[in-house]
């Protein structure tokens, strides 16, 4: 990792791309700078801009000063606090030793930037020794842990604001890669552990901790000593994972030349290339003038269960543009509910103009609040091209299709009464795939050793199904449909199929066994002649040795070699 401090800062803060990237997640950022003010920060220097040696503390403070000047212009709503730790004086709400929160009058500790704040921060270095002072906070013999305190203060400051609306960050600037280096034995372990815990707690609250290390001229800052754990990354991989920007380029397949996004598309038709410009294509799709045009009404029974393509869209009235709209909407809404009708309209969206059904939805309220808001649901209707005629596919041509008898229906009804999900609601299941994905990401992010077990709520209630009442109803229905000897019959048919398939397989493998014997496999392998055989020939070996037969030739060869132990 490049340790030039200036570079580090440029990467983190001055890159507009980076800022933009963060912006997608949260519009506002709450940021606490934790600046190490230990004597080490003052003693160690590095070459500055004008070839003069400057202390790390100076570098850190001037970078922050620069950054907040940019920030007040670009992101005025961000809230900032600056905290020094390893200080002689203390100033913080918790009254913890060794932590000094820098601030000016009429400003909360964590607040929007003000001009006065920036001005005073500019001259903080001059008065630093007098007002704040530098002192090692972690010394042997004392139980004080200034780093721990600093995290505590920062976390308390960031308690403000919801994690949903704001990005919370702690930026730690230090040149000490081993803050507990002076301490020995159990105390060290204990301090490291409590500090780590404190940092983890902060992360659990949605606060991210970032480290901006300042390295000494002849000695690299070793993140793995302490901080790697703290910020939850493996030392080696630190800061390596940056999102990438994907980029497409268009290449002419004939000449290999790089082309701009081409304005024309084509379709091969009658062995010719018929070209269309993008304008023509959008003109073709523009089949309707209005955006949503009412065509008429139909009874709800005309809306079949298979008339669906996509999730519905909710329509609610607004008087914002045209006064009186809400009134008309409500009148039609009531009529449609009362008359059990839905409206058919043409929705001229540019992506896919199509017919939609507008189904009026009455408001449903319960004690907990609104369950269904009042309005209309826009159901996207298929065209005839989108509907497939599956039912007719297997129609019976020699007579009538068997259908259930009254008794069988009766048994099914009885079963239905038993297995009744009375208060089923569509939102009762969490998506197990998503849940497990998030759990895995979290486990990896927090470096947890064990992969979480996800409780799949969507599995049927086996226990409930086994209850005597239900089991009996099931059994009765089963018997009425399949008859008593169902299992046997079922197995027979299944076996019949399996027999045919397995017979075929058996024949094939016997065949392979015979053919396999014609080749001297070890010799072929030793001479590297396997690649001269055909895939068919290679398959004799894998089939004869009951290895998987799938894959390309290379895969087969390597499988054979592995099997021979070579």
């Amino acid at each position: 990792m490049d340790m030039d401090p200036d570079d580090v800062f440029r990467d983190e803060e001055d890159d507009p791309e980076n800022d933009l990237y963060q912006e997608r997640q949260a519009s506002k950022e709450l940021l606490v700078y934790l600046v190490d003010a230990s004597p080490k920060m003052f003693n160690i220097t590095c070459p500055g801009e004008d070839q003069k040696n400057e202390s790390h503390f100076h570098v850190a403070v001037s970078c922050i000063a620069q950054f907040i000047k940019v920030q007040i212009i670009n992101r005025p709503y961000d809230e900032i606090a600056i905290c020094f730790f390893n200080t002689r004086e203390k100033k913080n709400l918790q009254d913890l030793n060794g932590v000094y929160v820098f601030n000016v009058a009429e400003r909360e500790h964590l607040d929007n930037l003000t001009a006065r704040f920036i001005r005073e921060f500019d001259c903080v270095e001059e008065s630093f020794n007098k007002l704040i002072g530098s002192e090692y906070g972690i010394v042997s013999g004392s139980r004080d842990n200034s780093l721990y305190n600093a995290f505590w203060v920062a976390q308390a400051l960031l308690r403000k604001g919801s994690a949903k609306t704001a990005d919370k960050r702690i930026l730690l600037l230090t040149n000490e890669d081993d803050p507990f280096g002076n301490i020995k034995g159990v105390t060290k372990l204990d301090m490291a552990r409590t500090t780590l815990q404190r940092a983890k707690d902060a992360q659990d609250l949605g606060i991210s901790i970032e480290l901006l290390p300042l390295s000494r001229p002849n000695e690299e800052f070793n993140v793995s000593l302490c901080y790697a754990d703290l910020i939850g990354l493996d030392g080696d991989d630190l800061a390596q994972f940056m999102p990438l920007a994907g980029e497409r380029s268009f290449i002419c397949a004939d000449t290999g030349a790089l082309v701009q996004e081409p304005p024309k598309r084509f379709q091969i038709y009658k062995n010719e290339e018929i070209k269309f410009s993008t304008e023509e294509l959008s003109e073709i799709k523009r089949v309707s003038t209005g955006s949503l045009r009412l065509l008429g009404f139909k009874p709800l029974s005309c809306l079949k269960d298979y008339h669906n393509l996509r999730p519905s869209t909710f329509v609610s009235p607004s008087d914002e543009e045209v006064m009186g709209s809400t009134c008309i909407f409500i009148a039609l809404h009531r009529s449609m509910i009362r008359l059990k009708r839905f409206a058919v309209a043409f929705y001229g969206s540019s992506a896919r103009p199509q017919l939609v059904g507008l189904v009026a939805q009455d408001e449903i309220v319960d004690a907990g609040g609104q369950l269904e808001p009042p309005g209309m649901h826009m159901i996207y209707l298929p065209y005839s091209e989108d509907i497939r005629l599956i039912e007719e596919l297997h129609s019976e041509t020699t007579g009538n299709m068997p259908s259930a008898t009254e008794d069988q229906i009766q048994k099914a009804t009885a079963l239905m009464k038993r297995v009744d999900l009375r208060d089923f609601s569509v939102c009762q299941f969490a998506n197990p795939a998503l849940q497990s994905h998030y759990a895995v990401v979290q486990a990896l992010a927090l470096d947890e050793d064990e992969m979480p077990e996800i409780n799949d709520e969507t599995l049927p209630d086996e226990e409930g199904m086994a209850r005597p009442g239900i089991a009996k109803a099931l059994e009765e229905f089963k018997v009425s449909v399949y008859g008593e000897n169902y299992d046997e019959e079922n197995e027979n048919t299944a076996q019949g199929k399996a027999n045919a398939a397995s017979k075929k397989r058996k024949v094939a493998s016997e065949d392979a066994l015979v053919k396999c014997a014609y080749y001297d496999w070890p010799k072929l392998a030793d001479d590297g002649k396997l690649k001269d055989l055909t895939v068919q020939e290679l398959k004799y070996y894998v089939t004869a040795h009951k290895l998987p037969v799938a894959g390309k030739k290379e895969a087969l060869i390597s499988r054979i070699l592995t099997h021979m132990g070579k």
Binding site: T255, G296, S384, E396, S403, A404, M416, H437, G483
Partner: protein, 689 residues
């Protein structure tokens, strides 16, 4: 290659009573051929018309009879000529006999394919079945049809009959129509046949399957009612969107002499480091990462593979519930259909029993489905009964995917009853609305349901293929207008509108629609709609409502300024608040638009539109307090017009009173009240010279 090729005979009735719908038939048949040209170019098609003066078919030569049946095109692989053939169907003069035609078609298929391509031979009959078929030499007509149908089944032929019952006055032929219906229904019983009856020309376009997609099951296996009770089912897609054809990107880089040029464009994806955009990151240095807060957590594909959620392939019943618990708008996707394993009689009965019980009890079943082994998610859905009305078609279920808790958006909207009394409809208004909802009826009793999805073709696709055909003949052909039959899909039926004129007028009278004076946004939009409404007053009401519906669905987000509706686009963009950039983007886009319009004008034809845009831009700039943007632009535009010899536009602007934004309108403006017109005062003498 041509393993799935289909052999199809189109039998078209061109007798005198069919003339009115022949244009539609030509359209839909050529669409069918065109789609074959694009999607299955090895299919073979023959065309037979009947009801013609002449007779031309093999059977008449061989055995005699079969008069007035003409083979327009013997079976051949689809090509461009076939499209032309379809577009020039002859107009017949005599009543045709569809049964003769069917026999001729069968004969052609049998001679051409004998026993091959079983199940891929299809006859498609389009007729109005208004004339009686001839009496056979022996036996009854019914017997004859049974014989034909059995033959057909033996040869693995399918037949689709589309019977057009336009709004004809020939009610006298009722008995004939009934007889013919009965005869045709024999095919459905005896063969894989489908007979549909359509009444309007629009549904005629939708009734013919223009693309033959062989259905594929997405699941075959058990429907587990419990761990011990399983039903063998097959699952197919019931609906699936037929997409607009994916056109390839065209590259003109290849020299015109290169005959083998593909003109295709390959797309290369590169990933670049955000810090250093010049650096391309090769695949081996890339790893998938997922956001966790502000961090990105890298997960290698091997790791991901190892921990991925992988349920077992199965379809399990979770339980039954009342149909009313599942609201229609929760259906998430396209629809699947569950049918019992066709070879398993017991399974068919089990499905039938369940479906009928569910229908009777008004219940639905909730299922958990994993269609394939290795699928990384589960699907929760609802099974609704589809009880067959046809004796030889089995009962089945429709399956709709339901949302998970994460998928539901719980937005609160104001309760209608809490809204102020001023927006509550009074009893007179309510009555007018009731009438409108009742009378603007698309499914009147005794008539065909209009715009039934099953018979409504996609107008965009139709138009695309039409244009494609035109372009294949003239590369510069313009986009054809939407024809009247398809307009019945996108616009209200003028017939329905005029029939219900009284109701609609009454509805209009009862409600008062005004543009919001505080928000002058939509004025132009509504005005525009008014002028474009081709049915004058009647439709305006509907459009007024329509526009307003759209503005209330906040799903439509405008991101660029389009050609068709620059002003609303601009307004939508500039008022977007999800990012401050939209204002500048909108202003920038609008400026370009104005320039385009002015520059491309021909004798000032685009000036009114440009003015509209300019007015909108000015208003936007005042609202957003960006006077400089507008003022500088106006200056710039003025200079541009002078340079390009377009001073007529400046005059036009001056005459329309377009002024700079003054200090009173926007604080930041440097233009005093008096100077607002300064630009054009100067301009006028200039341009008058």
């Amino acid at each position: 290659m041509a393993r799935n090729k289909e052999g199809l005979i189109l039998l078209v009735d061109v007798g005198p009573t069919m003339h009115s719908v022949l244009p539609e038939i030509q359209k839909v048949c050529s669409l069918l051929i065109q789609k074959k040209l694009v999607y299955s170019k090895y299919d073979e098609v023959g065309v037979v018309v009947f009801g013609t003066e002449d007779t031309k078919n093999d059977l008449t030569k061989e055995v005699g009879g079969y008069e007035h049946v003409t083979v327009l095109q013997p079976i051949k692989v689809v090509d461009g000529d076939l499209v032309d053939v379809m577009q020039q169907l002859p107009r017949g003069t005599v009543p045709g006999d569809f049964m003769d035609a069917i026999v001729v078609g069968m004969d052609m298929l049998i001679k051409k394919y004998q026993e091959t391509i079983k199940g891929k031979k299809r006859i498609c009959l389009i007729t109005n079945a208004m004339y009686p078929i001839k009496d056979p030499y022996e036996g009854t007509k019914e017997d004859q049809v049974y014989t034909i149908a059995e033959q057909m089944a033996a040869h693995g032929m399918k037949i689709d009959c589309i019977v057009f019952k336009g709004n004809q006055i020939h009610d006298t032929h009722d008995s004939i129509i009934k007889e013919n219906d009965m005869l045709l229904s024999i095919f459905s019983k005896k063969t894989k046949a489908k007979a549909v009856r359509v009444e309007s020309s629009t549904s005629l376009l939708g009734a013919l399957r223009t693309r033959n997609i062989s259905p594929v099951t997405i699941y075959r296996g058990d429907l587990e009612l419990s761990s011990t009770f399983k039903i063998k089912v097959w699952v197919y897609k019931k609906t699936s969107e037929e997409k607009f054809p994916t056109l390839k990107k065209y590259s003109d880089k290849a020299p015109s002499t290169d005959k083998f040029a593909t003109h295709e464009i390959k797309i290369d994806y590169e990933y670049k480091s955000v810090q250093d955009p010049s650096k391309v990151v090769p695949p081996e240095q890339r790893i998938k990462g997922y956001r966790y807060g502000p961090q990105v957590i890298p997960i290698s594909s091997a790791e991901l593979e190892a921990v991925k959620f992988r349920p077992e392939k199965s379809v399990k019943l979770l339980g039954f519930t009342n149909a009313s618990n599942i609201m229609r708008h929760y259906y998430m996707k396209d629809v699947n259909i569950f049918i019992a394993d066709p070879g398993n009689k017991k399974a068919i009965i089990a499905v039938s029993a369940l479906a009928r019980a569910m229908k009777e009890m008004n219940k639905v079943a909730i299922l958990r489905c994993v269609w394939r082994q290795g699928q990384t998610n589960v699907v929760i859905g609802v099974l609704t009964p589809n009880v067959s009305e046809n004796d030889n078609i089995a009962d089945s279920f429709y399956f709709n995917v339901l949302p998970f808790a994460e998928d539901i958006r719980e937005f609160q909207f104001p309760s209608f009853s809490n809204l102020p009394a001023s927006v509550q409809p009074n009893s007179e208004q309510q009555e007018a609305a009731d009438k409108l909802v009742m009378m603007l009826d698309l499914a009147p009793a005794g008539k065909e349901e209009a715009l039934r999805p099953d018979f409504t073709p996609n107008p965009v696709l139709e138009r695309f293929y039409h244009h494609l055909e035109l372009k294949s003949k003239h590369p510069d052909a313009a986009v054809p207008p939407l024809d009247a039959t398809l307009k019945r899909i996108t616009e209200p039926d003028p017939e329905v509108i005029s029939q219900n004129k009284l109701v609609i007028d009454e509805f209009r009278r009862c409600f008062d629609l005004k543009e919001n004076p505080k928000l002058k946004k939509s004025t132009r939009r509504l005005l525009r709609d008014r002028t474009s409404g081709s049915f004058g007053g009647e439709v305006v009401k509907n459009e007024g409502r329509s526009t307003d519906l759209v503005t209330s669905t906040s799903t439509v987000k405008v991101e660029t300024i389009g050609d068709s509706t620059p002003v609303p686009d601009f307004e939508a963009m500039i008022s977007r608040r999800d990012s401050p950039e939209w204002v500048s983007k909108a202003i920038f886009g609008m400026k370009n638009k104005v320039f385009d319009l002015v520059e491309n004008s021909y004798e000032g034809d685009t000036y009114p539109k440009a003015l509209e845009c300019l007015v909108a831009l000015r208003r936007g700039c005042v609202i957003e307090q960006e006077p400089k943007q507008f003022n500088n632009f106006l200056h710039h535009l003025y200079r541009f017009c002078q340079e390009k010899d377009l001073s007529s536009f400046c005059e036009f602007l001056a005459s329309k009173d377009i002024t700079l934004i003054t200090k009173t309108e926007a604080e930041d403006s440097e233009i005093a009240e008096g100077d607002a017109r300064s630009l054009f005062v100067k301009a006028e003498p200039n341009s008058s010279k």
